[in-house]
């Protein structure tokens, strides 16, 4: 008596989750605490409060409360673009002639073009609640900066974005979107901060990096009265907010009695993957169900598959707390050929711990094969995916082809984090055969690991 499954499963607005789910509550091995970069002692709430808003500090440190209510104001904002659809990829299945059933949770139907908005509005809300003037942040590919600009415009908060210089120059359109939402956008490194000035003096021709932009944004937050810093990935609080993705996915699947076999997400800092898998991982941790969970990362920035599980700096300027995570070293910068996001050197401490404990897998994929999957997907499913999201598509297609070979009717769910409308330069390179598959050498990685901080 299975109901016929529509192309798009939309929850009703009153079926949207009213709490976020905090997967740490169900983890036996909790993620290691952030450490003070000077003393190597766990960061206290008071220390973190200089950088982050108070409510967010509380969420960052809370590893026991399983459900944290979503404030009404945030739920109102969510209703502007959520619930997002869980799409049955009927057309892709037919194209692949696979017995697998493929679903994707599509987070791209909002102007930020990605799932980043789910945490941006939460972080902006708590800043507003604390009576702050504004927030600072960094952005690379631009999704996070756009999302934060949108959230701040909605709440009437000031928003200062440090944008990696190479993106600022190559992605003027993302910059203009942020300006439309009233944000100030500064190319990083900039002369506006002490760290920016130092980096500019040491590397005059630099086009910037995410780690450097983070350092500048943190400095701007801590030296401007009434500002705090916000970050779009990696942090525990971000995974908490992003759990709305997984909770909606699970509610939509449950509505039709569907149990996934495989859950796939792309992983840069871990915000999408962590959010998507949280409730499923919770069931797994509690022994209620089992799922094959797969993180997909770029072969050019392979934190999970080739990184070290160690304490490292979150930023190049080394002013942020140390986090224990899979890392390529805070000095690692992926090849300039690398397209899109997923270029962060580290990985969410929560996901790092889960991976370390064998609760999930990780694979790396090369970018031309990722773009091939993106194009194939676009042509049959309509949506032109972000390069980041296309990593998950690559893996989903690979799994579906395996099912074709074995005849297994597996149910595959993947996260389609966003759209690629601002990534057409990368698509153009792909069309013109100018895209390469650079992979860091072992020597490069060893040299980067040698600079990891020594923590007992």
């Amino acid at each position: 008596m299975a109901k016929e499954i529509p192309y798009k499963i939309y929850l009703e607005e009153n079926e949207m989750p009213d709490s976020w789910y905090n997967v740490r509550a169900d983890m036996k091995n909790k993620p290691a605490p952030l450490l003070n970069p000077g003393t190597h002692q766990p960061m206290t709430a008071a220390e973190l409060g200089g950088v982050f808003c108070d409510d967010l500090v509380a969420q960052e440190l809370d590893d026991t409360t399983a459900y944290i209510p979503i404030p009404d104001e945030i739920r109102s904002f969510y209703r502007m673009y959520r619930p997002s659809p869980l799409v049955r990829a009927y057309c892709l299945e037919e194209k692949l002639q696979t017995p697998a059933k493929i679903y994707y949770k599509f987070e791209g139907n909002n102007t930020s073009g990605s799932h980043k908005l789910n945490s941006a509005i939460a972080q902006a809300y708590y800043a507003k609640k604390q009576g702050l003037k504004g927030v600072t942040t960094e952005t690379g590919a631009g999704q996070w900066g756009t999302a934060l600009s949108m959230a701040c415009a909605y709440l009437g908060l000031d928003c200062k974005v440090f944008m990696v210089k190479v993106s600022y120059e190559q992605k003027p359109f993302r910059r203009e979107v942020m300006r439309t939402y009233g944000a100030s956008v500064t190319p990083s490194p900039s002369p506006d901060t002490a760290i920016g000035r130092r980096i500019l003096a040491e590397h005059p021709g630099t086009t910037g990096s995410l780690g450097c932009a983070i350092s500048e944004a943190v400095e701007a937050a801590t030296t401007n009265e009434g500002y705090r810093y916000v970050l779009g990935s990696v942090l525990n609080q971000v995974l908490l907010h992003q759990s709305v993705i997984g909770l909606e996915t699970k509610a939509a699947l449950d509505k039709y009695g569907i149990k996934p076999d495989i859950i796939i997400g792309c992983a840069g800092g871990g915000s999408n993957l962590g959010g998507l898998i949280s409730p499923f991982m919770g069931e797994k941790l509690r022994g209620e169900a089992d799922y094959q969970i797969i993180a997909i990362e770029p072969a050019s920035c392979p934190s999970f598959t080739r990184g070290r599980f160690a304490y490292d700096f979150a930023d190049t300027g080394m002013i942020c707390p140390l986090a224990k995570m899979y890392t390529l070293g805070s000095n690692f910068i992926p090849s300039p050929n690398h397209a899109g996001g997923l270029r962060y050197h580290g990985m969410s401490p929560i996901l790092s711990q889960l991976y370390h404990d064998g609760l999930m897998e990780a694979r790396s994929v090369e970018q031309t094969s990722v773009f091939k999957a993106a194009e194939q997907f676009a042509r049959v499913e309509g949506i032109l995916p972000a390069p980041e999201s296309a990593h998950a598509i690559r893996a989903a297609i690979d799994e579906a082809i395996k099912c074709k070979e074995t005849g297994e009717e597996k149910t595959i769910v993947f996260g389609l984090t966003g759209t690629g409308y601002f990534d057409m330069v990368a698509y153009e390179k792909f069309h013109n055969g100018e895209m390469s598959d650079y992979i860091p050498t072992d020597e490069e990685l060893e040299a980067s690991f040698a600079k990891l901080p020594k923590v007992d």
Copy 2:
């Protein structure tokens, strides 16, 4: 006992319309027939069949059948991105402090970024059904070309797009989206057609126009075996396909017992406006209900408000049939300052007749005020609108402000045709104060009218 109205009214997939509605069936004064440009006699089905597919010719000429079933294959494709949401603009209402209730039908949640996909898939489907190899078309701002590329990729049809040269150069990203979907994209005027060569010889430095690209696409269709020409607006068949917008809008409103007072749409060639208003206009024509229906056009290309109701060429090359419509003259080209679409010299013959008969109103708006409305809307409703759609937003805001002044609780419905992600150059000009409000002079228009063909 009114149900509480959600932010977004989504129909179920099984509530989607199974037929298009043909408003001509209820019109007492039918739109005037297309004329052969040589003989000035009504175009026969046989003559039109050289340019358009047979089924589309039948739809073009049928002014008596009220409901035409939507083939299953098209309905399957629609389910990939439809039903589109009817959104209650709660946040905009609150921002404006208006007693008006504002709804918008949002057609931008697909990769073409607009409603154009609704007719693209229909036209591509009938071409495929007829066993053709492919289709040709023109595109200006790029939405239509993108939509057609998506539809052709899905069906495995070849797609040749002539893109106005200035757009081809200034909008490389749109071009790459089309390439992602496998279309060939040629800057127009091109040396590939006789008309292109003639125009290049006469105007060596020209950056092209929509009228010229139409001429090239028609020539390419009629001189290549197995091809037909397709057009994204103006034609009766296009308004028929786009009626899915209005039918869904009406079904969503009916579900909650909502009766609109004012219906607003932007108008270039009329595809969105015609589709949105069709079922409401049908009720009005049958005397079952009354609505205030308002077309909004750019002051820089004001076909309704300053054009002539006369037979004119659809294209610059004067090879297309003559259509009776509100027109600025087929030689009219809007100022280079004009951003986005809505730059066509003529208007749908159906809408022209309805306007001529006093069944709807038209207003023109200037583009800086349009971008102000776009920015205001983006900041409170999240969605960054296409410049075209923002014309309707401008008028909806103006009407809502009037309601605030009078205290009237009118219900306003407008069409939000698409997103502005590929229009950031225009937004940048707006942010930098480089956007102007050029309006054609009476002398310019008179000079253009003087070249209208003489038809008895």
